[in-house]
């Protein structure tokens, strides 16, 4: 299990400041979910950890700055599931998941027997064997999303980054994908940082939420603490009612404005 620390992380795109002084410490095995309106800086945090945007400030994994790592070493520490992965239509499921082994293969090397056995095991455990020889273009959105998660699992990184993992899925597949992440997190002791739009799902699965607004963290804590009607109305500009189920689930329901 690995921890991930952020010290005063700043990200800017040109003149546009996307993230200010993001500071957080994600405990080993914790699931932190970033929420906030579009453009709040959620993706910037994830992309900075994945090494896809230039940033100021320090990101550490188990206390060691990530910036000092080689690209391959970084990929062995952090697996990234993008919001809309590029999945070539004519690639097979097996070929796709095997890409997760890339950090462990030398420049002129090839997958070893161990890599292939590990990928076969991942496909079996995620119940994806049927898709090993299928073309990605022939699969549904939910099946493709599970293959992307399988690729991240094959990467064997202790930290998993998920950018809107469920935005393209129906409610059943949303639940299926998040249950899968939760199961993998427990089995492998993964530390998860995700960005999500669905507040109820975010509160349901994450240990802790961080609400971002215009690049600043404005609230952090468990679902009951962050998902309050007055907080959401202030930063999302919406009118919602928040229900607390007996089992502790926090449900966020939008309300129609009374004037119509």
């Amino acid at each position: 299990m690995s921890s991930i620390g952020f010290e005063c992380l700043n990200v800017r795109y040109g003149q546009q400041e996307a993230l200010y002084a993001f500071t957080d410490q994600v405990r080993p095995g914790e699931w932190l979910c970033l929420i906030g309106p579009n453009g709040a800086g959620k993706s910037s945090v994830l992309r900075a950890v994945a090494g896809l945007v230039r940033h100021r400030g320090i990101i550490t994994v188990d206390g060691t700055p990530l910036a000092t790592r080689s690209p391959r070493r970084r990929a062995a520490l952090v697996a990234y599931v993008p919001q809309s992965p590029l999945m070539p239509d004519d690639m097979t499921g097996l070929e796709y998941v095997l890409l997760g082994r890339n950090p462990y293969i030398g420049y002129f090397g090839n997958e070893t027997k161990h890599d292939r056995a590990l990928v076969a095991d991942v496909l079996a455990r995620l119940d994806l064997e049927a898709f090993a020889s299928r073309r990605l273009g022939a699969l549904s959105g939910g099946e493709r999303q599970r293959l992307v998660i399988a690729r991240a699992v094959a990467q064997e990184a202790p930290i998993l980054l998920l950018d809107e993992p469920t935005s393209a899925l129906d409610i059943g597949h949303q639940q299926q994908a998040l249950e899968l992440v939760d199961r993998l997190r427990r089995e492998h002791g993964l530390t998860v940082v995700s960005a999500m739009h669905d507040l109820t799902l975010a509160g349901l699965y994450a240990d802790r939420l961080a609400l971002l607004h215009q690049g600043h963290v404005v609230a952090t804590g468990d679902a009951a603490h962050v998902l309050r009607p007055e907080t959401l109305s202030e930063f999302y500009g919406v009118s919602v009612s928040v229900h607390h189920e007996p089992d502790g689930t926090v449900v966020v329901v939008p309300r129609r404005s009374a004037s119509i």
């Binding site: 994945a50 090494g51 896809l52 690209p71 391959r72 070493r73 970084r74 990929a75 062995a76 952090v78 697996a79 990234y80 993008p82 992965p85 590029l86 999945m87 070539p88 004519d90 690639m91 097979t92 097996l94 070929e95 796709y96 890409l99 997760g100 890339n102 950090p103 293969i105 002129f108 090397g109 090839n110 027997k113 292939r116 056995a117 076969a120 496909l123 064997e129 090993a132 020889s133 990467q155």
Partner: protein, 327 residues
């Protein structure tokens, strides 16, 4: 693991031997057919000194153009690019023309022939401009192809202007552009072989990286790939190989699109298979494409580029139709 691969592996294992048999058959056919008739003891000289170098050179050129095409398609993630559409060939032509115009005589005694080098620099320059312009308009398939067309047109225009000003070298340049496959000698083979061997080895060593690049630059980077380095090395190797073969074969279009596409249709899209198969199938294809030219007209040769264009242009349109190319 074994049962997982069972459904793909056998077919994959067969494609390579099948392609090699095709290549052997094409080479035998190429050696047997010609104006002087079939194989007999009297025309062994003809076969060894005239037909075989021609067959070998056509094979080398076909292999290199196909391999370069498949490699460009990999690093640019675009099934429509080939050495010609990227402007590499036109750039090579311009570079070579400059040598003919400004220094063929004065460089005659040089240790290294500057002609392939100038062709390489011209080709690399053209590919760089095409890619930069294409990327600045969003980097889609379409913008890359259109940028390539523009760069090729520009290079050709500059070349034509220079040739009009220096009409004394027009004949030399055009005989260089239209190629020497039909008059190939063993020394032509020796000239290109080192370039082709080195470039092919470099490209084949990157075939796994091309598979990683298929998920896009960003995801490849998060998987630990050094995307810029891979792209740079592959583009340089493919361009150098292209420039080397263009300097003996002249402009032969469409091979670099047609052959890799055919290979993908038959054997799947993994570059680990597409690259080596493109070498073998490309060699066989160009050897076969060289045969009709010898027999269609008595006493004259139809250039090999005419044959490949006749087959390739309809094929290109077919690729455009079947691939849903993002605009």
């Amino acid at each position: 693991m074994p049962e997982l691969q069972a459904d793909r592996r056998p077919s994959r294992r067969w494609w390579f031997p099948v392609a090699l048999v095709l290549l052997a058959a094409a080479a035998a056919l190429g050696a047997m057919i010609g104006p002087a008739g079939g194989i007999s003891s009297t025309n062994w000289e003809i076969i060894w000194n005239i037909r075989l170098p021609r067959v070998v050179l056509a094979g080398i050129v076909g292999a290199m153009l196909s391999l370069a095409g498949a490699s460009y398609q990999g690093v640019f993630r675009n099934p429509l690019v080939d050495p010609y559409l990227l402007g590499a060939a036109a750039g090579a032509g311009l570079g070579a023309s400059l040598v003919f115009i400004y220094g063929r005589v004065s460089t005659a005694g040089w240790l290294v022939d500057p002609l392939p080098l100038a062709a390489f620099v011209g080709a690399l320059l053209a590919v760089t401009v095409t890619y930069t312009v294409g990327a600045s308009f969003g980097g889609s398939s379409l913008s890359l192809v259109l940028a390539g067309v523009a760069v090729a047109a520009l290079a050709t225009a500059v070349q034509q202007y220079l040739l009009l000003r220096h009409s004394e070298v027009i004949k030399e340049v055009y005989s260089w552009i239209s190629g020497r496959v039909s008059t190939a000698t063993w020394s032509d083979v020796k000239l290109v072989l080192p370039y082709v061997v080195v470039c092919s080895i470099v490209l084949l060593l990157h075939r796994r990286h091309l598979d990683v690049l298929r998920v896009g630059d960003e995801e490849a980077a998060t998987l630990g790939s050094e995307v810029r380095r891979v792209r740079l090395v592959v583009v340089i190797a493919a361009t150098l190989g292209t420039a080397a073969v263009v300097s003996v074969s002249g402009l032969i279009g469409f091979v670099g699109i047609m052959v890799p596409h055919l290979v993908r249709l038959l054997a799947g899209s993994s570059y680990r298979l597409v690259l080596p198969l493109s070498i073998v199938v490309g060699a066989a294809f160009l050897i076969l494409a060289d045969i009709p030219g010898r027999v269609l007209e008595q006493g004259a040769e139809t250039p090999i580029g005419v044959v490949t264009a006749l087959v390739g242009a309809p094929m290109f349109i077919f690729v455009l139709r079947t691939r849903r190319v993002p605009a």
